[in-house]
């Protein structure tokens, strides 16, 4: 138990597809847990970020909470990995960078079809949005970039097994082509 590699994961401004791809290793999950254990991750109820060997980050940075979680992951994880298009480039959510935030708000909460009681939500419980969506390497140092939308389960498997095995990480072409 003590020798298991500890992996923590989080999704920032993403769609959870990269986490689903991690589960797409299918029955190899049963083998994986022989050699790794999970720290904070959406798949368990550990809600604090503790020390981990590997941090897998899905999604870009879109709000202040994302910044805070990402910095905390950097502090706690020996190796930090940007998983998927949104973490690496901002991805589809970064398409909002071309618009003014006010326009976007009004679209959803004021001028939308069938909207009643139009108002912009403004409760203090609601986190602070950034003007732009950023790739995560603009905020912290990243050790590995694993591309794809999402990277396939096979690519994630290759990456994790070679990383855990201490080998240089190489992919067959079929695992890193796009669509």
């Amino acid at each position: 138990m003590a020798d298991k590699i500890r992996i923590a994961t989080t999704s920032l401004a993403g769609c959870f597809g990269c986490h689903m791809s991690l589960l797409d290793i299918d029955e190899r999950l049963l083998d994986l847990i022989e050699v790794v254990e999970f720290g904070r991750s959406p798949i368990n109820d550990i809600k604090t970020i503790g020390p981990a060997d590997v941090g897998l980050i899905e999604g870009g940075v879109a709000n202040a909470e994302n910044v805070e979680v990402l910095r905390e992951f950097r502090k706690q994880c020996k190796t930090l990995v940007a998983v998927g298009s949104c973490a690496i480039t901002g991805g589809i959510p970064a398409m909002r960078n071309q618009f003014d935030l006010k326009e976007c708000l009004e679209e959803s909460y004021i001028g939308g079809i069938g909207v009643e009681n139009p108002q912009i939500p403004n409760d203090p419980e609601i986190p602070l949005l950034l003007n732009q969506v950023h790739p995560i390497h603009e905020v912290v140092k990243i050790d590995y970039f694993l591309p794809g939308c999402p990277p396939s389960g096979d690519a994630i498997w290759t990456f994790l097994t070679e990383l855990v095995g201490g080998k240089p990480i190489t992919f067959p072409y079929t695992q890193i082509h796009y669509d």
Partner: protein
């Protein structure tokens, strides 16, 4: 009943307990509870804390991109968004009817995704609560714990999900964010080899799905009073329904019934949805609150998803699922089943339905056909509605003469359940947490209530939120422990918020 817990009369001097992040659900959310000095709960809210802004930023994009673009709303049920958008673009290109091959390929894809999503939710996310108890050790209460203690159940869950994902891969090229559906049809049919590959395992999937229904039935009935009561609320129910009243998750009219099972409307053409459903905005959540217009904001909210669908339909057209439906209905013979935990049971009946329906489709030679696409005269407005795993999903687009999107409206499944999830956590808060010192196992009960809905907060965060200029973090005594400031340049300053131990 519990609605008074939405907003405390006076929030001063109340202590704030927050559950953040919500876990074993898809996406980002948090719950805040306010307690008075005697630990009575005065306020309970489910907040959505992430924002993306799809409705705005797809403006100006060509309509044919929509099925692959908007499915990036969600990596758990991308096929739902892919197909709802594809149905809307069918209207845009004037394809009044799909070819039999195209419709069947799309249905196969949809059944595959519903099967994988339901398996994921039940086995990977919710089963630890149900198998180990709501107060099980945090470090053990997860899928890894299930693998260790119940390896056979875990293996079946993993392989059921795998099969669903393989159906998606074969029909759309990729397990997540594929490209199968296009305006007016699909871009490929099945080869004989692909069909035979899926046929090989389908019987096993039907058998395991039956086992899954049996499992949730046993768990539920073992403690039937508690499970019936937990997070239970009386609500209206909304779903799509086939012309003959059959369960259908790909196409149909809208049916809404009240808590007693009386019809509110039936077989409504979903292209007129905005005459029946509106959405209320509340200041404390970025997720809107939809309601049935004729019933008003106060009473018109409703539930969607497996429980609503199984309650609302007249029958399943697959024999094993139909048998299970009849048995399920015995829980409440005279009115719709309102237990929130019965969602899990209904979900597993749907899992079985999908496995049976996949088999039936795989035996249909139309899947191998080559007529893939229809077109007609271009239209300016397209609306697509589908039953996603979590409930009714609405996509609505307007385009200009160049085919570029000028307006969009998305009502995602989880948004439809917004008020219901809030009411469910208030029921749990007032029944089980009121007057108590809140501990982790008690707080997990709140999450158990939310998990019953299988909320996809990932989908729910497609809208975009406001940007306060300054945020202060206060402790219970009102002392500032952290501060975030956004400068006019857009740069963000974090004054190292102090974290409580």
């Amino acid at each position: 009943m519990t609605k008074q817990l939405e907003t405390a009369a006076d929030s001063k001097n109340l202590k704030r307990v927050v559950i953040e992040p919500l876990t074993r659900v898809e996406g980002h959310g948090k719950v805040t509870l306010l307690q008075d000095e005697n630990n009575h709960i005065r306020q309970a809210r489910l907040h959505i804390v992430e924002f993306r802004g799809f409705e705005k930023f797809i403006q100006g994009r060509p309509y044919w991109e929509l099925p692959v673009l908007v499915q990036r709303l969600c990596g758990i049920c991308p096929v739902s968004h892919h197909l709802a958008a594809a149905k809307a673009t069918d209207m845009l290109v004037g394809a009044r009817q799909l070819t039999p091959t195209a419709e069947k390929i799309r249905r196969l894809m949809h059944y595959g995704q519903t099967l994988q999503s339901h398996a994921l939710h039940f086995f990977h996310l919710a089963s630890p609560d149900l198998l180990f108890g709501f107060d099980d050790e945090v470090s053990h209460r997860n899928i890894i714990g299930v693998i260790q203690d119940h390896p056979e159940i875990a293996k079946q869950g993993v392989l059921l999900r795998k099969f669903g994902q393989e159906v998606i891969r074969i029909t759309s090229g990729k397990r997540i964010h594929g490209t199968g559906a296009i305006p007016g049809g699909v871009n490929k049919s099945l080869s004989i080899e692909e069909r035979d590959y899926l046929l090989r395992d389908v019987e096993q999937m039907i058998e395991w799905s039956q086992g899954a229904v049996g499992l949730i039935k046993r768990v539920f009935l073992d403690n039937i009073d508690y499970h019936s009561e937990f997070a239970s609320i009386d609500t209206n129910m909304l779903s799509l329904i086939r012309d003959d009243g059959a369960f259908d998750i790909y196409h149909g009219g809208l049916r809404a019934r009240d808590a007693q099972g009386q019809g509110i409307f039936d077989h409504i053409d979903y292209r007129e949805y905005d005459q029946y459903l509106h959405e209320e905005v509340k200041s404390w959540s970025y997720m809107k609150f939809p309601y049935i217009l004729s019933r008003g904001m106060e009473d018109g909210w409703y539930r969607v998803g497996p429980l609503a669908r199984v309650n609302n339909c007249d029958f399943f057209d697959q024999p094993l699922a139909e048998r299970q439906r009849l048995e399920f209905l015995e829980l409440s013979p005279n009115r719709p089943i309102q237990s929130s935990l019965a969602y899990h049971w209904a979900r597993m009946i749907e899992l079985l339905y999908c496995a049976e329906a996949i088999k039936q489709l795989l035996l249909d030679d139309d899947l191998l056909g080559s007529e893939l696409r229809n077109r007609g005269e271009m239209q300016g407005e397209g609306i697509g509605v589908i039953e996603a795993p979590r409930g009714t999903l609405f996509h609505h687009y307007l385009i200009d003469e160049d085919g570029l999107v000028v307006k969009a409206n998305l009502i995602v499944s989880t948004t439809n359940n917004n008020q219901a999830m809030n009411e469910s956590i208030r029921q749990v808060a007032s029944h089980y947490l009121d007057g108590q010192q809140l501990t982790e196992p008690l707080l997990n009960q709140i999450e158990v209530a939310i998990r019953a809905y299988d909320p996809c907060l990932s989908c729910a965060t497609h809208a975009l939120g406001k940007m306060p200029l300054e945020v202060e973090l206060l402790d219970v005594n009102g002392r500032v422990v952290g501060r975030i400031e956004k400068q006019t340049s857009g740069a963000v300053l974090l004054d190292n918020p102090v974290r409580d131990e």
